[in-house]
Symmetry: D2
Subunit: 442 residues, 4 copies
């Protein structure tokens, strides 16, 4: 790597790309990126060009020798890459809108990474990611795959269990957002706060909170229950029951509301969908506006409007991870990686989201023993769901998909599960060829 680093971003035409570019620019001293390849599919060519040109202007303004390449040829881009990041969305926001709308018709939460929506995003995404890792094996076997594509937990699980590729780290901005939120609530600098994260992607808990190294968890939980909730952009900020949080003894993430406040979240979604549209529909409009901004040839920085899009700390989390890996920093970051015994009641070979030491040879989880008794069951249920869903994505087996759908805790019954499954399979047919091969269908 002496000659600088080659980074490939699959789904490079995403509106998030400027975040990433800004991150590389800021960290150039310790992370000297020489080539940044933005890859997309033909349908995304226009957006790739718009955002790619913005990236070039940003680099130029920074005066750095980073080459930005735009291409539709994934294999050309991947050759000898050092880090490959994935941030693509199969079926674009139109598919997400279906993931959100269809379940709501059945009074079931429609959400990008949870419930039926999460299942279908997985079914569409996993075959593509498995194709990509086959390319990696061939073209850049020493690269690390940094996956941001949701559902990141299920995708990481699928790669770990259904491919030979082990050099994958799944990344999410939920843990860092929790940490920042804690610092804000405590009115201290974020660097003074540490959190033991453990669980699964979008089902991660802050088990302990430390201020200057001292465990302040009970005090913090007390404080937390006295403030209005402040969640991520895409999750309704319905307040927790204070007594429940104290009883839980750990900090849930925003997505836990879909499970511990299922009724209220569903109600909220139904109202929002009626009034302003689902999140995908809102984001579609936001994206349109962002790309209009990006087209401006005078724009050569990340525009502040991007923050509304929802990926807070995205750049920080991603670049900081790549920087620590490249420089073997051995600092602690929360990532999705193979469990390897760090959480007792999750299978060793499964993906978990956990505070880990970040080294040049990948993340090494810090053992936590086990999750609190009260939360183990739900976490294990979501892990079971992820595993069955990943198997359905790989095999295209209808029964396996129905099993995944039915055991998801957001579904009210096997009957409703089947109804939603059938309607969604039909709606996403174009992106689910594995389910429509004649011989597998029955």
């Amino acid at each position: 790597m002496e000659k600088g680093i080659k980074i490939v971003t699959i789904g490079g035409g995403s509106s998030y790309t400027p975040e990433l570019v800004e991150g590389f620019i800021k960290r150039y001293d310790s992370l000297p990126v020489r080539e940044l390849w933005l890859v997309d599919i033909p349908e995304g060519e226009e957006k790739l060009n718009i955002v790619g040109n913005l990236a070039k202007r940003m680099v130029k303004k920074a005066g750095l020798p980073i080459e930005v390449h735009l291409t539709l040829d994934r294999r050309e881009a991947l050759k000898d890459a050092d880090f490959v990041t994935t941030q693509f969305r199969v079926g674009l926001l139109a598919a997400r809108a279906k993931d959100e709308r269809i379940p709501l018709k059945y009074n079931v939460i429609g959400q990008e990474t949870n419930g039926p929506g999460g299942l279908f995003k997985g079914l569409r995404t996993i075959p593509i990611i498995l194709d990509i890792v086959k390319d990696l094996e061939e073209l850049c076997p020493n690269a690390w795959l940094i996956n941001f594509t949701n559902p990141a937990g299920m995708v990481t699980e699928a790669v770990l269990r259904h491919s030979n590729w082990k050099r994958i780290v799944g990344l999410c901005n939920v843990p860092i957002s929790i940490q920042m939120g804690i610092a804000k609530l405590l009115e201290v600098e974020a660097s003074r706060v540490h959190v033991d994260f453990a669980g699964l992607n979008h089902m991660v808990f802050g088990l302990n909170v430390y201020l200057d190294g001292k465990n302040i968890t009970p005090d913090f939980l007390e404080k937390m229950t006295k403030h209005k909730s402040d969640t991520m952009k895409n999750i309704a900020a319905i307040d927790w029951e204070p007594d429940f949080i104290k009883a839980l003894g750990a900090i849930p993430c925003g997505y836990h509301r879909y499970y511990y406040k299922q009724a209220e979240m569903l109600q909220n979604e139904l109202e929002e969908a009626a009034e302003q549209g689902t999140r995908a529909e809102v984001v579609q409009q936001l994206e349109k506006e962002l790309f209009e901004l990006y087209k401006d040839e005078h724009l050569d920085i990340k525009p502040p409007q991007l923050e509304k899009r929802g990926g807070a700390y995205y750049s920080d989390a991603a670049c900081s991870l790549i920087d620590s890996m490249y420089n073997d920093r051995r600092d602690i970051q929360p990532v999705n990686t193979i469990n390897n015994g760090a959480i007792a009641s999750i299978p060793d070979e499964s993906a978990v989201e956990i505070s880990s030491i970040i080294t040049k040879e990948g993340p090494k989880p810090i053992t936590i023993g086990d999750l609190p008794v009260a939360v183990r069951g739900l976490v294990q249920q979501i892990k079971s769901f992820e595993r069955v869903a990943a198997e359905a994505a790989v095999t295209g087996n209808y029964h396996t998909a129905l099993l995944a759908m039915t055991i998801n805790p957001l579904l009210p019954s096997d009957k409703v599960a089947k109804q939603i499954l059938d309607e969604m399979l039909e709606a996403h047919k174009e992106h689910l060829p594995q389910f429509f091969k004649e011989e597998v269908l029955s």
Copy 2:
């Protein structure tokens, strides 16, 4: 034990007692019961006398030298007992009616052993059973406690974790009912059918079905989906989705409907409660009629009307277990016992319901490796619930009880959990002294 066996039945005034007496009579040759002590509390004295006198008539008719003792003095009865069976109900059917009615007000399933009802039955029962095992330690340390009192899983868990008493077996008629149902469907004698049972009480799966030793599971599941469901008396027989059962690859028990068909079961309960009353209310009427029958001094057999009460195979399961223990038969029976590694993803020290070798020194589970991936999560969630609930029952801690309630998969949110908890604590106040000690309350 040379001189015959002493059996003590706590809650001896139960309408089920004639089942048990019939069982002992039928098995007298191999299981020579010398003393049967029926114990009850003052409030149950009248029923105890009615059913106890029937028991005496049954024994007399059989011409056997079994002494039947009726007493309100538990400690007198327990002295040197060989087997102690527990079948009491704290708060009687009136309490059960509350367990069923109150949750329904919040659109939550009201059921004796699941959801809020199961939690509160546990909260009322566990302190009493822990009192009983203290007596056992002192008065009959070599006895075995055979517990039928529901929620049998949570009760067994509580004794294993919160007492020093390890000689407990929890018993339930669900597995034997499944086995009988399979034999009926296959139109073969029950003795030709074997089932590998594993899971938790009221959350047990038939993992494999054997006919004459041959594993016929997939064929049986196919056949099962083609027949109308036939469940236990207290569970609505709503049909499973055939595709779901095939995907599951194992036989669920009737109580699984509360989880995999939550919406339909709730709907059904709401309708039944409005039309004919909850199950407790129906049973209260049934019991009244039964005790009228029992009073008849000419009755000296178990009356056939008892079958409507719902405890099919109860006598068979109980007496067969005691017989195998007494005679060290080393045959295979499904019981609730300490896991000890038999099911990988359940803690070793927890109670599980599993096919076990029955010996004079207690049951020894046959290892099953692990549950199918798809069902692990739900089973673990119920086990987490049972453990937190047992802790709440022992400590009387409000927050722990709220935690148990909220993590139960039948609850829609932390807010509703708190509402139901508060109303039920008040409603059952009389039987929950541990929650109303001044110093613990907050």
Copy 3:
């Protein structure tokens, strides 16, 4: 199997075969063997004919319709077999003699199934058994392989880990000999004694002893220390330290002497080798005499002299296992099978020797939780040894073989391990082709 059972015995020319034939004859009513195929290799043809003709005379005398086939064509024999038993010895007793003699030169125990001898018997045997299971997959996929070939633990481990064949049971007469010894010492019928066996082949412990179902372990251990040891024919009966046995709290098997009495056993071996020859050398003479007897055309029963050979209860253990499998008896027998969680500190996928329920679909271990703390380490060390040895046998890798040799607890150092390894590799060259392929050697 309606038309009778087809059994194939590989290594059919063994002097033990009459044991097996006698067992089948005695059990004909419940285990109607129709065809018994005795298979051997060209070098064993003469012995095959001698013992095969005796088998035919025994069957004829019994008046049973069992066809006895003698063949050198393994694949012909295997077609549609129901049970395949393996009792072959690669390199015959001459190889065993080397396994015993060479280590003694280095002051290391020379023994057929332990230490360097056990390792080399495994290295010679495992490739052959893996060839056999390939034939089974093709020619009789529903058959069960009942393996008696030593080292039975390592062989079972190798099949479980290095082939796709799971229908294997490893069988040994050590546990049944222990049980018989206990009954003899207690002066009761063997059927009144039960023992919880757990551990590995030739490293199995009797964890608990029951008389009529009552756990009498401490009393029995006390009694055991007061009597002269009585071991199997091939193990020197050096008495245990009484205090050690009481401290151990479990019954060791005879082979444990090689570990817990290493010094005395080595001394004894050195003396015996000098005076009367090693066990193989003694047995070679015994075998010669036996085959002389077998040649007698008037002999039509198992000759009593066979008992000196050392396979006490061999017929009982083998035929009783096959009978229970064929008839789905679900009784308890100690066998070598996949652990599957039954012993906590042994890997789930490894072979263990353990009391199991015997069914038509194979053995199912009864969970024991874990071995006593004191013995776990040694058992785990032998399991590590077996696994590394199996890998060496499969790969023919010199370093792996050295690793296996060095970590064996009977070896005094890496240096001596290497010396013995080098000498034994050379001595057994003919039967270890996998180590002498040019490309693998270094």
Copy 4:
């Protein structure tokens, strides 16, 4: 802790104390020690005064406001301590000499922390350390106990399992010595080398070696086999078999020689004991000389002669650990701490020696999954030994002690174990009161 740190060193009269004092002086900027209490027993008063006065001169020379207190009153010293270090030796070097001499009479390795010597050092030490933690609970419940007293693994195990005190870290200079040796061999600065350490105290492996973050393990092992061994002062540097090291695939520690080179090490010990005396006898002379030096009132630095004593990097390891804890550095150091799932085949509650994140709230192990198959058995055997030994130390049970002795892999038989046990119990009678209480003796 704002006002500076209070450190208590039990066994403060040790010749090692100047190492520790030097470490605190060097790190004063980040680790502002305000009080250093050196505690010893009456028999050690003279040495305490000599070394304590040297400590005072060293502090004075450094011009730092550290108060050095010398006392025989442990409880006075412990009040409100922040860190308590233990480096005492029950029975002094005279006892160690017996630990080394007696086993040699039976042709068994005599060593301070392995075999019979390790067992007896544990039997003498554990009751004292359990007394100390009772004082800690009362007098300084927020302190951390940093234990250097050998056998450090067994001592940490005993505290974790037989007391309520969890704030203990066991420390050893073996891992840091390995790391320094690697850097020296690679001719690079130590800071560029990382090693994944895992195992038990004095049974730790370097599983992977990294240079600048890159895993270079196989290359390093190759290189390592080409150089003369360089071990710690107290272990004979007998070279490993190169092929064994390559096959092992991990770096053993010096003490592994007692197991993998048992024959040669015993031979070497026998020769050295005859020629120059055992290590204790050599050290006794060294200590005498050191204390002569320490008496010199002009000496105000750590004398260079101390290095011969054998505690290389002792100061570094100890002060660096305390510094990281005090400052919550979250860097990686190898320590003895509770396993908590970090090494799969060691019980969760046991002490392991493992690379851990060092925080203000103690060490958190980095999960390693499991040890290589080949070494698991030996490590588990030593852990079994440690656990049985700790139990013997606490109970004073003769049988338990015999069990510990017999299962130790350095013992050749139960008979020899008993002989050595009996002789050593008698020899150390004065320091083993728990074995000589009348009622426990038998």
